[in-house]
């Protein structure tokens, strides 16, 4: 497995998940923030340095994310 840096959260274990039959492009995914991107998209999508700062994620931001919908309490069994 060849790892890459996620352009969005900069996790270092992003990897290739699919390649077009004619090798026109590849798709990569980040197992931490679930970002997916295609090799033919612009550098503002592929390059961690150019990714829009408003949408960058960090481990801390992920830990603080709100659950939608909230997870309900388990029902009590009698």
């Amino acid at each position: 497995m060849i790892y890459m840096i996620c352009p969005r959260c900069e996790f270092v274990e992003a990897y290739k998940v699919f390649e077009a039959d004619d090798k026109a492009w590849e798709i990569f995914r980040c197992p931490r923030c679930n970002f997916n991107w295609r090799s033919t998209e612009g550098p503002e999508v592929r390059d961690p340095k150019l990714y829009d700062s408003r949408f960058k994620l960090t481990e801390k931001k992920i830990e603080e994310m709100v659950a939608k919908p909230p997870i309900p309490p388990l029902r009590r069994t009698t």
Partner: protein
């Protein structure tokens, strides 16, 4: 004649000049989103059929299927120039045919290819990033089927944003106000997975009804039958106990993993803004069934309004609350909830007595859709067409008395993706009573409306004739 598949509807659109084939090699990004944005912004926007997709030798993409009121009329089997108010009236009438139960079949084109091993969503669908800062590739127009896991009843067909996150994993937005969230909450209370089926590329009334806010106990398939005037055609899922639209191009089956949330989004929402990344539910896929290639992947462009989503939701969010309110209030004339899923909603009605406009606005807020989405409600008299904004603005200008007719309800439930929120899911509801005050309220000081001269209609025709 109702359409039994997306393909049948595309044929109709082509015959009516409402389909444009894009035959050159197309890049998934940014070509599809840019062309789809354009199609909805031009007059009488056509369906776009992308026939040659870079990287997929045998897949096609259909966009803007609902993306004009002409396409919307064709979907309802009406002449394509049918006006808005007439389409509203037609849907109101057809709604009363509910329920027309679905017809069950045992074979469907999407059962031609069944994939249970080495599932790969990236291979099966020509996925693309809908807007540049979306967190991934989205199914933005697929229909999702679930059933109440506790009772085994109350099957739901809905449309929710879904992010493809891995070859067999899909994030799904189950917002608390939607029926799927009721199913998910019960499953999670019981700590069991929720079976789910996702139907991709459907005949257009299926998508219309899936995005219509029906009551929890109402059956979407029986409403599809009512709107079409002919039973919806369904087939059983391979796993679980779900009914699937038989005309679909591709169906994904799986289960929502209970009591877990995973990073999802952002996604460019109907508001014209990106929603934030949140942790949301996820589907583990265990079966993909589809037509033989070339399949057509239908998706929705959701960006800055107006776009296809606004056209698709315009009538459904207007007709549903109208029908839910009219049994109690027969004075109702029409509801226009076309603006940003009804964030701004206009109610037109006869007035029973003074203050009645407020009653109507408050009742809207207790309909399934009204609980969250509307936050700016304008009530006008029955002499105002709520679909004619010139008339609505006139009514506000001359009938609204701010000191008596403005109501603010703070700390009320609101849409979770409204960019103005201070607390997510909380809003202030605004009611603008732009009706003429009637007794026992104090009438307008100068209450005599100027009549249109009775000869106006004659002269309008004359002028148009002479202009030619």
């Amino acid at each position: 004649m109702p359409f039994n598949s997306l393909r049948a509807f595309l044929e109709k659109c082509e015959a009516e000049g409402q389909l444009v084939r894009i035959q050159e090699n197309i890049k998934l990004e940014p070509d599809i989103r840019a062309a789809s944005c354009a199609a909805a912004k031009i007059a009488e926007g056509p369906v776009l059929l992308f026939e040659k997709i870079e990287g997929y030798s045998n897949k096609q993409v259909a966009m803007n299927v609902h993306g004009s009121f002409q396409n919307h009329a064709l979907m309802l089997d009406l002449p394509k120039q049918t006006g808005l108010r007439a389409q509203f009236a037609e849907l109101v009438e057809r709604w009363d045919r509910y329920p027309i139960p679905p017809k069950r079949v045992t074979d469907a084109p999407f059962k031609e290819v069944m994939i249970e091993k080495n599932l790969n969503l990236y291979k099966e669908l020509p996925l693309f990033r809908v807007n540049p800062l979306d967190g991934g590739f989205y199914l933005s127009k697929a229909c999702v089927v679930t059933r109440d896991p506790e009772t085994g009843e109350d099957q739901n067909l809905g449309m929710y944003r879904m992010q493809i996150k891995d070859h067999d994993r899909i994030g799904i937005q189950a917002a608390a106000q939607h029926d799927i969230a009721v199913h998910l909450r019960k499953a999670e209370e019981l700590n069991v997975p929720l079976r789910v089926a996702i139907a991709v590329s459907n005949e257009p009334v299926t998508s219309l009804v899936a995005s219509t806010p029906l009551h929890y106990h109402q059956d979407e398939y029986s409403m599809i039958g009512a709107i079409r005037g002919e039973a919806a055609v369904v087939i059983a899922s391979e796993k679980g106990n779900l009914d699937l639209p038989a005309g679909a191009e591709l169906v994904i089956e799986g289960e929502i993993i209970p009591r877990k949330r995973f990073v999802e989004g952002p996604f460019a929402e109907y508001t014209g803004y990106y929603s934030s990344s949140m942790i949301q539910a996820e589907v583990q896929v265990d079966l993909i069934s589809r037509r033989r290639d070339p399949i057509i992947f239908e998706n929705l462009y959701s960006g800055l309004p107006w776009n296809e989503m606004d056209y698709m939701m315009a009538m459904s969010t207007s007709v549903a609350p109208f029908k839910q309110m009219e049994t109690e209030f027969p004075e109702l004339q029409a509801i226009n909830a076309m603006y940003t899923h009804g964030y701004v909603t206009i109610i037109s009605s006869k007035m029973r007595f003074g203050g009645f406009a407020k009653t109507l606005a408050l009742r809207l807020l207790t309909t399934p859709h009204g609980i969250t989405y509307p936050k700016f409600i304008i009530v006008v008299d029955d002499d105002i067409d709520p679909f004619d904004l010139q008339q609505v603005m006139w009514a506000i200008s001359v009938r609204f008395r701010p000191e008596r007719d403005l109501v603010l309800i703070p700390n009320a439930p609101g849409s979770t993706v409204d960019p103005t929120h201070l607390l997510r899911g909380i809003t202030t509801k605004t009611i603008i009573d732009a009706t003429k005050p009637v007794p026992p309220d104090i009438p307008l000081a100068d209450g005599s409306v100027v009549d249109i001269p009775p000869e106006t209609a004659f002269w309008m025709e004359e002028i148009l004739k002479r202009r030619k």
